[in-house]
């Protein structure tokens, strides 16, 4: 697994569960254990369409990170592989 922070566009209109505001890249995080956390702390009430971006901290597999890096909609700020320390 990799941990990274990524700039992503918003999607949705916030009017329902299915159309909630959220990062576009959420759709790419489908492998077990992959996920994201909003680290902007931006209140929903302050969401604006322009600029339509925010930052999420992501945990994902290497293949998913490769796909994100190859996608021009996203900008990877940093990434680090999770390595178990020897006990």
């Amino acid at each position: 697994m990799w941990t990274c922070e990524i700039v992503s566009q918003w999607r949705g209109d916030g009017q329902s569960d299915e159309t909630a505001f959220g990062p576009v890249l959420a759709a790419l995080l489908t492998l077990p254990g992959e996920g994201f956390e909003d680290v902007t702390g931006q209140p929903s009430a302050n969401l604006t369409p322009d600029p339509n971006v925010y930052i999420v901290r992501v945990r994902c597999e290497a293949a998913t990170l490769d796909a994100i890096e190859a996608d021009s909609r996203f900008a990877v700020l940093w990434s680090e592989e999770e390595v178990d320390d020897a006990i």
């Binding site: 329902s16 909630a20 995080l29 994201f36 945990r59």
Partner: protein, 451 residues
């Protein structure tokens, strides 16, 4: 503290740990006193202050008491050799007021000793006042061995353990603990006199240990309740007046609902085991099969809430994913104020995920997501932890979502259930075992660490 009266018995190490300005820190423990007696063989004089490594003391100091016997370092242990029949206080090492070592009896401090009894004698550790070594203050303990076994006594004659072997190293740990008048536990660094209840814990070797705990009637009455274990078989001795409710008050949930009621009972008429009434915010909820059962109206987001009286809580619920044609979603409502302002954590069978959403002014925002397999007609354990603006939630103790800026409704105490199914519904989503624990209890940190 005193280490008192014995035949030719030894102490391998003494440590007094935790807190204190200027204390040494070794191996993660902060020692006010540490004596491992790893020094050259030597005898001690009555009244001698031991405060150097050459005298066997790494940190702090001990004062030798040899009124009726002698002490010496022999083979890296402190050997006690009695002369006659020493009374309590006539032979030993003193580390508190008598010796001026600088540490006092306060909550949170621990005393660790390794000892070995070679003959039928008595040996003990404990806290007591300088004026009354035979009437120790709160923490009097003795180990007494005869030809075949021994026992661990509280001063005053209450035997709490037997089976102590001679010529064997034993480790003995006492930690002073207590509750204040409002039931808050384990305040470190406080004089025991300020506490309504006191407690002391004793652990004995690997498989043989004792736990002492009791009501503290005053500042000079021994404190004890006893749970002992010998070779894996535990027994409990509870003196009268033990405030067991104090412990349970910490561990018991503030809300507990197993939804045990007759089929068809409306949820807002159902009485929980612990906690107040449910409010059906959206949809008609009832009890079916001892589970909370939402309306089952196609496409409707059913919501039911109740007041947990706490905003920083751990919620745990069993989510029984039902079966519909399009999607089955269900989860927990957190910090609800109205239908347009609250949080919810939910799992979805079609999307295969656990998510945390914020509903703020009617606008819904996805704050955290983790992919996880969610199947129809399957039960899942969902836990949500709220601590100030930090939210964390887990699915079956593993998959985790978190968000650290949950400013909305930070002090709201209304929590609840949320369900939505779409398309023809074969089986309703259902909920069971709804529990809320106040976040003030440390058990939630343990829960966090366990996943």
């Amino acid at each position: 503290m005193g280490l008192l009266r014995t035949g030719i018995n030894t102490i391998g190490a003494i440590g007094l740990s935790l807190m204190g300005g200027g204390a040494a820190v070794m191996g993660g423990l902060r020692y006010l006193l540490r004596a491992i007696f790893d020094a050259a063989n030597q005898g001690f004089a009555n009244g001698q202050v031991l405060d150097t490594v050459a005298e066997g003391v790494q940190d702090g100091q001990l004062t030798v008491v040899e009124v009726d016997g002698t002490l010496a370092i022999v083979s890296n242990e402190c050997a006690f050799t009695a002369q006659g029949t020493p009374a309590w206080g006539d032979l030993g090492l003193v580390g508190e007021a008598l010796g001026g070592g600088g540490f006092t009896k306060v909550l949170g401090r621990g005393l660790i000793v390794t000892f070995n009894l070679s003959t039928w004698e008595e040996m003990g550790i404990g806290w007591h006042t300088a004026a009354a070594v035979t009437d120790p203050d709160n923490m009097p303990y003795a180990v007494q061995a005869n030809a075949t076994d021994g026992r661990l006594d509280l001063e005053g004659g209450t035997q709490i353990w037997s089976g102590l072997a001679l010529n064997t190293d034993h480790k003995w740990i006492i930690v002073l603990g207590g509750y204040n008048a409002t039931g808050e536990a384990w305040y470190t660094g406080q004089p025991t006199a300020n506490y309504v209840y006191g407690a002391s814990h004793y652990f004995y070797d690997g498989v043989n240990w004792n736990l002492a705990w009791r009501d503290k009637a005053d500042n000079t009455t021994p404190l004890y309740a006893i749970a002992s274990m010998l070779d894996g078989v535990g027994t409990v001795e509870l003196p009268s007046g033990i405030p067991t409710a104090d412990l349970s008050a910490v561990l018991q949930p503030v809300v507990d609902d197993t939804f045990t009621d007759a089929n068809g009972t409306s949820l807002d008429a159902h009485v929980k085991e612990v906690g107040g009434a449910w409010t059906e915010q959206v949809g008609d909820w009832d009890i079916q099969g001892n589970k909370a059962n939402p309306s089952g109206v196609d496409g409707q987001v059913d919501r039911a809430t109740m007041d947990a009286a706490e905003s920083d809580v751990l919620l745990r619920v069993t989510c029984n994913v039902g079966q519909s044609v399009t999607s089955d979603k269900l989860g927990l409502i957190l910090r609800w104020s109205d239908v347009n302002n609250y949080w919810f954590v939910w799992l979805e069978e079609i999307g295969d995920f656990l998510r945390l959403h914020e509903v703020n002014g009617g606008v819904t925002t996805l704050r955290a997501h983790v992919a996880a397999t969610v199947n129809q007609n399957t039960a899942y354990d969902v836990v949500a932890i709220m601590d100030g603006q930090d939210f964390t939630a887990f699915l079956d103790g593993g998959n985790r979502v978190a968000y650290g800026s949950a400013a909305l409704n930070e002090t709201e105490t209304e929590m609840g259930l949320r369900s939505k199914q779409s398309g023809a519904i074969t089986n309703n989503n259902q909920f069971d075992n709804f529990h809320v624990h106040a976040r003030r209890s440390a058990i939630y940190d343990a829960t966090l660490n366990a996943v």
